[in-house]
Amino acid sequence: MKNHDNHISSDSANWTVLLILLILTTLSILAIKIHVGAFTVALALLLASVKVTIVLTYFMHLKFENLLLRLMVGGVFLLFAIVIAITFIDYYFR
């Protein structure tokens, strides 16, 4: 099993990820000023999703897990994204 191995990320990798997360957080705040109407929430969710992916991949070590586990986690997020999308499609067409 891969998850019995030790995976210690380098300091530089962790700092780089942290920097990217801070930049994306700043972008999330700045995005409020961009007026894209009904897509404001979609934009915020998109940026949040990128951040979640980075956290899962690097900080939660999903990068080092086997394909099945990565697919299962990916499937869960895909499912959640579809559920959110369906809900907002209702708002778009109403």
Partner: protein, 537 residues
């Protein structure tokens, strides 16, 4: 079978004694029994509330309670039955007791977390009861807590919401435990497609528990935040939207129906081959139909909202998917019938209940199509037709499957046998009472009788009165069944290890099972349901 009293060998029931040993036990079988006893008590409370509501509706006008009391009663009846009885029911009781045994493990993956789940469950259940008697009057929103009323009502809505939130956590932790157990703890040789079908159904259920329950948890917290902090999630005057609540609530609560029904399907899938002494028909299609129900069941929540102002595009989308989910359900029904066809059918009480499950679930399923269709839904929405459909699925489906499960596994759990005669008589009362209780509600519902009304037009009285008579017959059946089981759990004839000639692993160990199930972990050499030889070497 023999009545000879001998010194019982050590098993999970007697290897430790005393209340403390039960309250601190991490044995999955004991935790399953803790769930069973607590759920049974809550079920009896909610059933009595249901009977009182039926007595109120025996005649038009006020009879034994006020409208406000009636509103409180249907709310707490719903909260107890849904969140405390049917959602955890089969998975927490029989899943806990039999999942590890059926996959050849000594316990679940996280035994302490399992016990913690039960304590969380009890905390939520007690909070639910407390909401009835705390300051102010009992919640009167219905178990769905629809806004804007639930955000404004002066009753104990916050306590009831907190109860549902805590119960949700118990459900998530149980689901997580089962997923890890199935992935990591199957016996050597038990590949995915050598796993019995009850564990498969629990696996599909556990994913729903894990993925859908957090959504309702957050939603209920949002209502609490709206009530206490006046944040405008759902209140239009604060920029919110009440339809958003319905979306979020049903994103969980429709899949929750599958949390209730999938383990029920798993139970009867174990019973049909055993009592037909024939391999299950279509093992692989049953596996994939379970997973398909779990997956498609995620995307049909909108059919609860056809009349709530949802967009037209969403309505036909959800209606289409609702019809789609009928396909895997029908596959299962055909597989069960085909399993019995040509088999050596032995009509013992577990099979009676399992066959009743098919009959009642099918009626519930077909009437569900009438509700899933956009045109007929407008006529039937919020009428007693919905109440009847819902109870045929939940009580006729999950409830009768629970009765089937307890009659099937009773000799394994207690090492004793119940009276077949009393089980059959109780089944007769339950089956007749159930149909008399709920079928008239289809008729009065089509005629326009709304749900959740404590009073009604006299033209509905015949249907309502018949329904109340059915409720009394049903209660007699319940009393008979519970008495038979409780009495014989201590005084019944000693049951052999394998009274039904089953072939899955639980029937290959002594009754009651030893503390850690197996002296030696079994090695699985072939697929389950081979009646030429049992599921292990």
């Amino acid at each position: 079978m023999t009545n000879t009293v001998t010194k019982e060998p050590l098993n999970y029931l007697n290897h430790e004694t005393g209340l403390w040993s039960w309250l601190t036990s991490t044995d999955h079988k004991r935790i399953g029994l803790l769930y069973m006893y607590s759920i049974t008590v809550f079920f009896c409370v909610a059933a009595i509330l249901g009977l009182l509501m039926r007595i109120e509706k025996m005649a038009p006008g006020q009879t034994i309670m006020t409208a406000q009391t009636y509103n409180g009663m249907f709310t707490i009846h719903g909260i107890i039955m849904i969140f405390i009885v049917v959602i955890p029911g089969l998975a927490a009781v029989f899943g806990n007791i039999f999942l590890p045994i059926m996959i050849g493990a000594k316990d679940v993956a996280f035994p302490k977390l399992n016990l913690f789940s039960w304590y969380l469950f009890m905390t939520g259940a007690m909070l639910g009861l407390y909401s009835q008697f705390a300051n102010g009057h009992s919640p009167d929103t219905g178990w769905t807590f629809y806004v804007p009323y639930s955000a404004e009502a002066s009753s104990n809505v916050v306590v009831a919401l907190t109860a549902a939130f805590v119960l949700g956590f118990a459900s998530i932790l149980t689901g997580l435990n089962f997923i890890v157990t199935i992935h990591r703890m199957r016996a050597p040789g038990m590949t995915w497609f050598r796993m019995p079908l009850f564990p498969w159904s629990l696996y599909a259920t556990a994913w729903i528990q894990l993925l859908a329950t957090p959504i309702v948890g957050i939603t209920l917290l949002m209502v609490i935040a709206e009530r206490t902090l006046h944040i405008g999630f759902f209140d239009p005057s604060l920029g919110g939207d009440p339809v958003l609540y319905q979306h979020l609530f049903w994103i969980y609560s429709h899949p929750a129906v599958y949390v209730m029904i999938l383990p029920a399907m798993g139970v009867v899938t174990e019973i049909f081959p055993t009592f037909s002494q024939k391999p299950v028909f279509g093992y692989v299609p049953i596996v994939f139909s379970s997973m398909a129900i779990a997956l498609v069941g995620y995307f049909v929540w909108g059919h609860h909202m056809f009349t709530s102002g949802m967009s037209y595009e969403s309505r036909w989308f959800f209606s289409f998917l609702t019809f789609l989910v009928a396909i895997p359900s029908a596959i299962k029904v055909f597989n069960w019938l085909s399993t019995m066809y040509g088999g050596s059918v032995d009509l013992k009480p577990p099979l009676l209940f399992a066959i009743s499950f098919i009959f009642l679930f099918t009626i519930g399923g077909f009437t569900g199509l009438a509700l899933g269709s956009l045109a007929t839904n407008i006529q039937l929405h919020n009428t007693e037709f919905v109440v009847a459909h819902f109870h045929y699925i939940i009580f006729g489906g999950m409830g009768f499957a629970f009765f089937a499960a307890i009659h099937y596994w009773f000799p394994k759990i207690y090492g004793r046998m119940y009276s077949f005669k009393w089980a059959n008589i109780s089944w007769g009362f339950l089956f007749v009472g159930f149909n008399l209780l709920y079928f008239p509600l289809f008729i009065v519902g089509i005629q326009g009788m709304p749900r959740r009304y404590f009073d009604y037009d006299p033209k509905f009285q015949l249907g309502e009165a018949l329904s109340t008579i059915g409720a009394f017959i049903l209660i007699i059946g319940l009393i008979g069944m519970i008495t038979n089981l409780i009495y014989h759990s201590r005084r019944g004839a000693i049951a052999p290890a394998n009274p039904w000639h089953g072939v899955t692993l639980e029937w290959q160990i002594p009754s009651p099972p030893p503390h850690e199930n197996f002296d030696e972990i079994p090695v699985i050499t072939h697929e389950p349901y081979r009646f030429d030889h049992p599921h292990t070497n």
